[in-house]
């Protein structure tokens, strides 16, 4: 039977006065049909557990619930406790988080599983029999069932909880972090069990923070952020193509086997308990969003249809964002460029989203540098067009556009004049754009601090030849970022550095990107470095883009032979 939440709102009374309320869930609407599994993804404090408890009307007395919870079509929000007793476990069952004494320590396991059956009037022997068979299905060995909860392992306990939930064959299953505490083998077994139950016609609500488990079992995924759903998307797109800035940040924070890019947290701090309700007047994610506009702090955004990776016409879910999710910053369409008779770029198309790190990988002469500078507006393409936030780059005033793009070059010693002191080097963009004033001194010091260099007068007066390669590259980065550009182009920025220095500079770039939310174009010949830094890799070969996919996909399943070759070489083969 289906489970549906309609405009569900849950608040907790914090103190005596009725006005002191903390919002746990704000206007949640989710529909799970029979034979469907929907996962709800979120961090701790997002309200996931509240959702689970609300589905069975088990909220604490201090909770105030409005809206509807429809179990098989019946609204349970108005039912009494004794009426709920029949519905609980017969129509809807829950697998709680396996934490602490979730099973009664003084009852045997098989008794706890048989208990709901006996409550329904079944005879004790028949109930025990069925329980025994259910435990078999969950792969609990014979003889383990007469033990007590403390005598079995955590993995077995999780399976016992699952068996207990399935014993009455309820139409709806709610799973609260069912694989948080189990090993890989149990995990895959439980995934199989869940899929079998879904195929048998159950409606399953899967609550988890394990992003790799989501596509294993569920078809749809709802992303919950402190009581509000920010994105609803097909599960298989979660890791590859999140469309909401928060979802993307979440995916970036999740350790995946295939992905080598370092983890980055979500910048900023979580919202306080009291600012989560609908009475607020802005987008709940706005304080932490790196692409927020004016509207975002003025109005609460509505849900808009989401562009998915599937074909048009598929329901790809929705996104709650004024900008419709992650916006595209740069759109390159069929760009070609040749030098004399050499075709450097031929019909190249790609996109770069706001806040995305795209690595352009290729050997010398592949056209990657040309492409980067074409995007920067320095080189004019022979054909095709380049759109920056919807406007053609050629239409934008060059000087203005230069402010939005920061470039870090390969050789810092060459890109910074040997006559300039550190101070003068970083001040140069300000001078060029006539923005140098009394505040600039402070700005330059801030910039130095941000790249983790000293900001005292002594350092400011140093000349390039007095600094090491790594320090100088940092100065270059500070210079590139001083005008707060939206796009940073790193052109082979680490090739000339020692590995240890390279590591630090890469780390710095990643942190800056996460903090400021700027988009990054990372040009390199080293696919190994590319995968540590980028969200997406585009491989250029002979003027064409032969591969363009999320980094972990490219590394795990390269499609083009050239990519395979690159990876093979990077791994140490011939």
């Amino acid at each position: 039977m289906p489970l549906q939440f309609k405009n569900l709102n849950v608040q907790y009374r914090v103190s005596g006065s009725p006005d002191d309320r903390a919002t746990a869930l704000d206007n949640i609407s989710i529909k799970i049909n029979e034979g469907e599994c929907v996962s709800v993804v979120g961090e701790s404090g997002s309200g996931k557990s509240t959702l689970a408890l609300a589905s069975m009307k088990l909220l604490a007395p201090s909770a105030v619930m409005t809206g509807q919870v429809l179990v098989g079509g019946t609204d349970i929000s108005s039912l009494s406790d004794s009426e709920m007793e029949t519905i609980r476990w017969n129509d809807i069952a829950i697998v709680f988080q396996n934490y602490g004494d979730v099973l009664n320590p003084v009852h045997r396991i098989i008794d706890q599983i048989a208990e709901p059956l006996i409550k329904n009037g079944e005879s004790r022997s028949s109930a025990l029999d069925r329980s025994r068979r259910m435990l078999d299905y969950l792969k609990i060995k014979e003889g383990r069932d007469v033990l007590y909860p403390h005598q079995i392992s955590a993995g077995e306990r999780q399976r016992v909880l699952m068996a207990m939930a399935l014993i009455t064959d309820p139409g709806i299953l709610v799973l609260d972090e069912p694989v948080a505490s189990v090993d890989a083998i149990t995990k895959s077994h439980l995934a199989k069990v869940i899929n079998e139950q879904v195929d048998a016609g159950k409606a399953v609500l899967l609550i988890t923070h394990d992003l790799s488990f989501v596509p294993l079992c569920s078809c749809r995924c709802e992303v919950l952020y402190f009581g509000s759903i920010l994105e609803s998307l097909p599960s298989h797109e979660l890791l590859d193509a999140p469309r909401h800035p928060y979802t993307r940040a979440l995916v970036r924070s999740f350790p995946m086997m295939e992905r080598a890019k370092d983890l980055a947290g979500v910048r900023g701090v979580p919202p306080s308990m009291f600012s989560r309700s609908s009475e607020r007047s802005c987008c709940i994610f706005q304080p932490r969003c790196t692409q927020s506009l004016g509207d975002c702090s003025q109005k609460v955004p509505q849900a808009v249809p989401r562009e998915g990776a599937g074909s048009a016409g598929d329901d790809c879910g929705y996104v709650v964002c004024h900008r419709g999710g992650i916006a595209t910053m740069i759109s390159v369409k069929d760009v070609s460029k040749s030098y004399k008779d050499l075709l450097v770029l031929s019909d190249v198309s790609l996109t770069l989203d706001e806040g995305e790190i795209l690595a352009l990988v290729g050997e010398t002469g592949s056209g990657k540098t040309t492409l980067a500078y074409t995007i920067a507006g320095t080189i004019k393409p022979d054909a095709g067009e380049i759109l920056f936030r919807g406007r053609s780059v050629l239409d934008i005033d060059r000087k203005e556009f230069a402010k939005t793009v920061g470039i870090v070059y390969q050789s810092p010693r060459d890109s910074i004049s040997h006559r300039f002191t550190v101070f003068e080097a970083i001040a140069e963009p300000l001078q060029i754009h006539k923005e140098f004033d009394d505040k600039s001194h402070g700005r330059i010091k801030d910039a130095l601090r941000e790249v983790q260099l000293p900001d005292d007068e002594y350092f400011l007066q140093k000349y390039p030849h007095e600094l090491s390669g790594g320090e100088l590259q940092r100065v270059a980065i500070a210079r590139a970022l001083i005008l707060a550009p939206d796009l940073l182009i790193a052109d082979e920025s680490t090739s000339f550095l020692d590995p240890s220095v390279q590591a630090k500079v890469l780390r710095l770039l990643l942190d800056l990107q996460n903090e400021r939310g700027i988009s990054m174009l990372f040009v390199t010949h080293d696919i190994g470095v590319a995968r540590k830094v980028s969200d997406r890799i585009a491989v250029l070969h002979g003027g064409d883009i032969v591969e363009n996919a999320p980094s972990h996909r490219v590394i795990a399943n390269p499609e083009h032979p050239y990519t395979k070759q690159l990876i093979g070489v990077a791994k140490g083969g011939s």
Binding site: L58, I87, R88, A93, F96, G100, L103, N104, V106, P116
Partner: protein
Amino acid sequence: MRNRAVKMVAAYLLTILFLLFLNFLLPRLLPGDAIIAMYSGHEMAMTEEVYEELVRMHGLDLPLHEQFLTYITQLAHGDLGYSYISNAPTAELIMGALPWTLLLVGTSFILSAIAGIVLGVESSWRRGGRFDRSLLTFMLLLDGIPSLALGIMALMIFCLHFGWFPSTGAMTPYSGAEGIGHIKDVLWHLVLPLATLTLSMIPGDYLLIRNSMMLTIREPYVLTARAKGIKKRRIKYLHAARNAILPFSTRIGIRIAYIITGALFIEKIFAYPGLGCLTYSAISNRDLPLMQGILTVSVLIVLLINIVVDMMYKKIDPRVENAY
């Protein structure tokens, strides 16, 4: 498993021996003379010969270790000494009084445990509500009134003022009643002492269970039980109380000691012929052998109960691997 049981029994035996030794040693530590202390309250002429005779009678002229040996052997034979004051073997006197005490204390313990558990469970379940708050305050007040005071008040009100119940004894003397009549008579005499003793015990049990339940109710498995749609009463007792009982069981020994203390006073007040009353007369008569005998018996009983509870504990709490 056997090893553990052996260790446990050994520990208990050691404790018993220790206590017996204490029991044996105390009178012999009296400042001054044992005989003089024992018979100082009695009107008799203490001449040299009588003194010598008494010393010999009590075996006080033998070396210490021999005395102890005699003491132990006597004990093993069930001989608890002889009360010269009442002119009867101590064991006989004790055996005459023991059943009455067992009846009083045993029934009272069970009744107060049941009442304390039920009230504690229901109170904690409704925690903060009117029922809980008023019951809690009432129990705290009741707890403060010592069994002594309760007994006195009960005596005054129900015996003297209303005359509903007898004020002394366990049976109506010389009634010669048999069968049902006898039982009814005994019950009639039992009511007040039983009621007072039980009342004095209930608050302690109630508070223990209530506190334990308040912690148990928060445990995750109670939420699990609710989610399973189990009926409230079953959750309260089979799921929650079943766990809340555990701290209570560990304290049964202490509760027994406590109830015996209370029984002492109640028996005296109602002249109920149990061990308590006997103790009182032993004290007033300065009957040392009798007192020693009573102490031995009560210590043995308490220890026995402790052993039984210890052995049963594994059944109650499957999480316990070994108690010793």
